[in-house]
Amino acid sequence: MSKITKQSLVRKILLNAPIILLFISVLNDFDFNYLATNYFSFNFVYILIFYCGLKKNLNLGYGLIFIAGIINDTVTNLPIGLSSLLYLIICVSAAYLRTITLRPSLFNDLIYFLLTILVVNSLSYTVLTLIFSISLEYRDLLINVFFTFLLYFVFAHLFRFYERIILRKSDV
């Protein structure tokens, strides 16, 4: 009996791993968006949301993404609603790509992801500097976009591995 409960608990955790990861990323002190190194940073949340938006099997609701955005705004002292908007735009982009794609390829996803994060970061820069008068270092933002784009490839493989585990478990 206890074995069954244990197994179902593990399965539940595995199924909800994207949600857990998303909320840990926005709530935790540690931020990939700001690493101590000078020329390296990447936005893990963008990668996670885009990948989950592309795959129907992964459990990540839009409502939860919206809440995660609100939390991120609160923790990083950004105007409330900005991160939610950016995250949801990534969702739109991913959903569009999923709809138009017949044969998925990682290369296409990568190019599309780059375009998406460029648009999203431009929007964020425009809103922050023009509307809220918050100064931003443009160079840091570009570095962030570049590494987020590069690391998408790595994380996509990791997430695919995780997806395979989940699918196998849910089949059982």
Binding site: L27, N33, Y34, G61, G81
Partner: protein, 400 residues
């Protein structure tokens, strides 16, 4: 061409509006809601501010809990690292301590003299409302370099208060919630404070770089700044007290921008001091005023107490008098009652006696020969109690 445009529109519509099986909300609805939040936030709407306060209080606490494992790992790493460098550090600091002790003795006189002179020109500021706060969240982002502390308006924290790490300036309070506050660090891109570079005494503005250091801004090229010159707050603008140490000028030759290395390591902040400064004279005056207020309050309270005591005593006396009167009245009443009872008793006895005498006289007429002493009998003498008893017993029995 027409077909591809239709496909695009269908795909976009599907992505935006179609609520999938797993989704509770449509993307369009949520994006609209985010935009509304953002727009209302930019106009500083009251409702948005209330939502912000509620969300902040909850999120800061949750963030603290979620960060526990990461903080534990970080602390363990730091402790281990410190452990390995402990002995070298100890030797280095021992030598430094000796030098500083000697310097401290020399400085003491200068500091006292300086303070005395500053009091004369009304520029001597003293610390007020000092509070120690714990850092809850120090999540840094490219947009903002700020930390959250566990003290808020509940602990008298106000906007603009100065934040120190031991004696070094760290930043200022930019957001106050009920039990938490946000501190904008000096390294933040938007932090700009007036500084004085010593020993040359050059005045300038220190601006955060968004990294771990800050830059000296708005300074002409021809000013000569020495390497390792110390940067202090200048006190211009009245927000900060003059002379709070901030950091040292570093790498003048290598860097075109004059960057400042902070004395305090902002990534290692655990506890900070939050305080405000006030003019010493003003504070002294306020202290005297407060003392006078306190004294008058004490006097008023004493007077009030005495008055109350007197009133209480008067009430007690009145009560006792009333009780005494009631007692007297009761005694009088009982006396009158006793008198009435005795009077009634006497009257009753009198009536009984008269009745008895009447009966006796009637009986005497009838039974006198049976009881009266004569020469020939040995009966009772008239008037004695035995004679009376004999008459009453109708001459037959004698009760002794």
């Amino acid at each position: 061409m027409q077909a591809s445009r239709d496909d695009f529109i269908i795909a976009i519509r599907s992505a935006f509006l179609k609520k999938e099986t797993q989704q509770t909300f449509s993307l369009f609805g949520l994006i609209t809601f985010s935009l509304i939040l953002l727009i209302l936030g930019s106009f500083n709407f009251k409702i948005i501010n209330y939502i912000k306060i509620v969300v902040k209080e909850g999120v800061y606490r949750s963030s603290l809990i979620v960060s526990v494992p990461e903080k534990f790992i970080e602390n363990t790493y730091l402790i281990t690292k410190r452990h390995f460098t402990f002995y070298d550090q100890y030797k280095k600091e021992k030598i430094e301590l000796e030098t500083l002790r000697a310097k401290d003795l020399l400085n003491e006189f200068t500091i006292t003299e300086n303070n005395r002179l500053k009091i004369i020109i009304d520029d001597y500021l003293v610390k007020t409302n000092e509070t120690i706060a714990k850092i809850l969240i120090d999540k840094q982002s490219p947009f903002s370099r700020s930390v959250i502390v566990n003290k808020g308006s509940k602990n008298n924290i106000k906007l603009g208060m100065v934040v120190l790490d031991s004696e070094y300036l760290v930043g200022k309070v930019v957001e106050v919630n009920y039990i938490t506050s946000r501190i904008l660090l000096l390294s933040d891109f938007n932090s700009k404070i007036p500084v004085s570079i010593e020993p040359s005494g050059i005045q300038s503005i220190l601006s955060g770089s968004g990294k771990d250091d800050a830059i000296i801004q708005y300074l002409k090229e021809d000013y000569i700044i020495e390497d390792n010159a110390v940067v202090y707050t200048s006190g211009s603008g009245g927000l900060f007290k003059a002379g709070i140490p901030i950091g040292k000028i570093k790498n003048l030759d290598l860097d075109e921008e004059r960057s400042v290395k902070f004395f305090s390591d902002f990534s290692q902040l655990r506890f900070v001091k939050i305080l405000s400064y006030e003019e010493a004279k003003k504070k002294a005056k306020e202290k005297i005023k407060l003392e006078a207020q306190k004294q008058s309050k004490i006097k008023t309270e004493k007077l009030k107490k005495t008055k109350e005591d007197a009133e209480l005593r008067a009430q007690k006396i009145k009560k006792l008098e009333a009780e005494y009167e009631i007692k007297l009245k009761a005694e009088e009443e009982s006396r009158l009652k006793a008198e009435e009872v005795s009077r009634l008793k006497a009257e009753e006895n009198l009536a009984l006696n008269i009745e008895k005498q009447k009966i006796f006289k009637d009986l005497e007429l009838k039974y006198s020969p049976n009881c009266k002493k004569t020469f020939f009998n040995k009966l009772y003498k008239v008037g004695t109690s035995e004679y009376k008893n004999c008459i009453l017993n109708k001459g037959t029995k004698i009760v002794r």
